[in-house]
């Protein structure tokens, strides 16, 4: 459900970032020797390599991470997790594992949606503003396309999904105290998972692209 409820924000942000990226790339390509189709290529590669995996992961760390940490944290302080333990249920397994698996399965779809919508945003910008010929933009999308970039983007998304959900669940699960501490755990979950996403982005890029 958290993944499905994130589609809206991913679509909105991806559309406008794709549009803005197209405009900014076009405005910066002032050298007449550089062909205009590079705008499409730049938009495509930026979306694939960084935006739809890393930036969307940071957005989801805020939305999904805080939601998971506060939900599990509230269950902890209201003794609902103790109820599961008393019943003989492995509470971590019951509460956390499905969230991690669901995010790792669903977030790649969010990534694909983000890339598609971002490119659509760029294309519509070309049509509306005439900043670049739409045919050049589409040619740029095809130009020197490396399919491994898609795999790279999806691998990153899966790793980031694991980081976001597990860090958030950890902070929520081990919260001690009351409502104030649940709030703190939610904040810590967002900060820690964002930092870990950034660091693992560097590591994954080094491993996968070099």
């Amino acid at each position: 459900m958290l993944g499905i409820r994130s589609i809206g924000i991913v679509v909105i942000i991806s559309f406008f970032i794709g549009a803005v990226m197209t405009i900014q790339t076009a405005l910066n390509l002032v050298n007449p020797l550089i062909p205009k189709f590079y705008i499409g290529l730049g938009t495509r590669d930026t979306l694939l390599l960084e935006f739809s995996s890393t930036v969307v992961a940071l957005i989801l760390a805020g939305k999904v991470g805080s939601s998971i940490a506060s939900e599990i944290g509230s269950m902890r302080i209201s003794e609902q997790i103790d109820v599961l333990e008393i019943m003989g249920i492995n509470s971590a397994n019951y509460l956390i594992l499905p969230k991690i698996v669901a995010a790792m399965l669903f977030n790649p779809f969010l990534n694909i949606i983000s890339v598609f919508i971002g490119i659509l945003g760029g294309y519509i910008t070309c049509i509306v503003t005439h900043i670049v010929n739409p045919y050049d933009f589409i040619y740029g999308l095809h130009y020197t396309f490396n399919p491994f970039y898609v795999t790279y983007s999806i691998i990153k998304t899966i790793v980031f999904a694991f980081i976001i959900t597990s860090v958030a669940a950890y902070h929520g699960y081990f919260v001690l105290g009351g409502a104030r501490e649940v709030g703190f755990s939610s904040t810590r979950a967002v900060v820690d998972s964002s930092v870990l996403v950034i660091i693992s982005n560097l590591i994954l890029t080094q491993i996968l692209l070099t």
Binding site: S78, E79, Q80, D82, V83, E85, I86, M87, G88, I89, N90
Partner: protein, 257 residues
């Protein structure tokens, strides 16, 4: 029967339970009473394994040393336990029927209709009707406690633990909850352990009473013995209010007659 022997428990080098030993009998209401911070909740949570004791033994059924069991064996034994928490601890994302059905979903292969029938029996047993589809937030405090009792008994537990079941309830509703727990204890022949500082519960249903003071087993007895005890710490706790002092005077007059 649950027997505890020489239990010790500390938090951050601060002793909370000090050499506590006692026995909780089957089919009887066993009360743990004491001031706030005396260690009674820690004792109750240690009994069910939510806290790990530093030393001592918790013996279930005469021969199973609970604190020596591995995690899987503990989980197996816990399936025989029902627990009523102070704040009811109903799952707020489930409605009443789903809350009560939850243990059946987890541990039985019953059909949906059988599970629904069992849920309705349990809800009827706690005198609740037409609330199946309501969310816990739509219920009063007393109704939430009754739903929690229904959930605790749905798997026919051998052990029933109640952490301050009447806290935050008015005296009339408290009496309803106390009597309900007593009836269920007799009906299901459970080892029932109630953690409370409600003197009304002590007088209503206390059969075996354990008074914990400063983490120690300070006094044990029945509800009749508690009124005439000469234990100074127990008297300070029990007769702290005008109402309870009045009860003591009344029971003395009644005895003299």
């Amino acid at each position: 029967m649950i027997e505890i022997k020489h239990i010790n428990k500390s938090f951050h080098q601060q002793p909370v339970l000090k050499d506590v030993s006692t026995r909780f009998d089957k089919g009887r209401i066993n009360l743990i009473i004491g001031e706030s911070g005396s260690g009674k909740t820690v004792l109750l949570k240690s009994l069910v394994g939510l806290h790990t004791i530093d030393s001592g033994e918790i013996i279930y059924g005469g021969n199973v040393i609970f604190n020596n069991l591995d995690i899987d064996a503990k989980r197996e034994l816990r399936k025989e336990m029902g627990m009523l928490f102070q704040g009811s601890a109903l799952f707020d994302f489930l409605n009443v029927e789903e809350n009560v059905m939850f243990p059946l979903d987890m541990f039985t292969n019953m059909s949906v209709s059988d599970k629904r029938e069992r849920v309705n029996i349990c809800l009827k047993r706690v005198n609740l009707g037409n609330v199946n589809q309501l969310k816990p937030s739509e219920l009063s405090g007393g109704m939430q406690k009754r739903v929690a009792i229904a959930r605790a008994i749905v798997l026919n537990p051998n052990y029933l633990f109640c952490d301050e079941p009447t806290s935050g309830l008015d005296p009339k509703t408290s009496t309803v909850i106390d009597n309900l727990i007593k009836e269920i204890t007799e009906e299901y022949n459970t080892v029932t352990i109630i953690n409370t500082h409600d003197f009304n519960s002590v007088i209503e249903i206390g059969e075996n009473i354990l008074f914990i003071h400063e983490g120690k087993n300070w006094w044990e007895g029945s509800k009749d013995e508690i009124l005439v005890s000469d234990n100074p710490e127990l008297n300070k706790f029990i007769f702290a209010s005008k109402l309870t002092r009045g009860v003591r005077e009344y029971s003395k007059i009644k005895k003299d007659w």
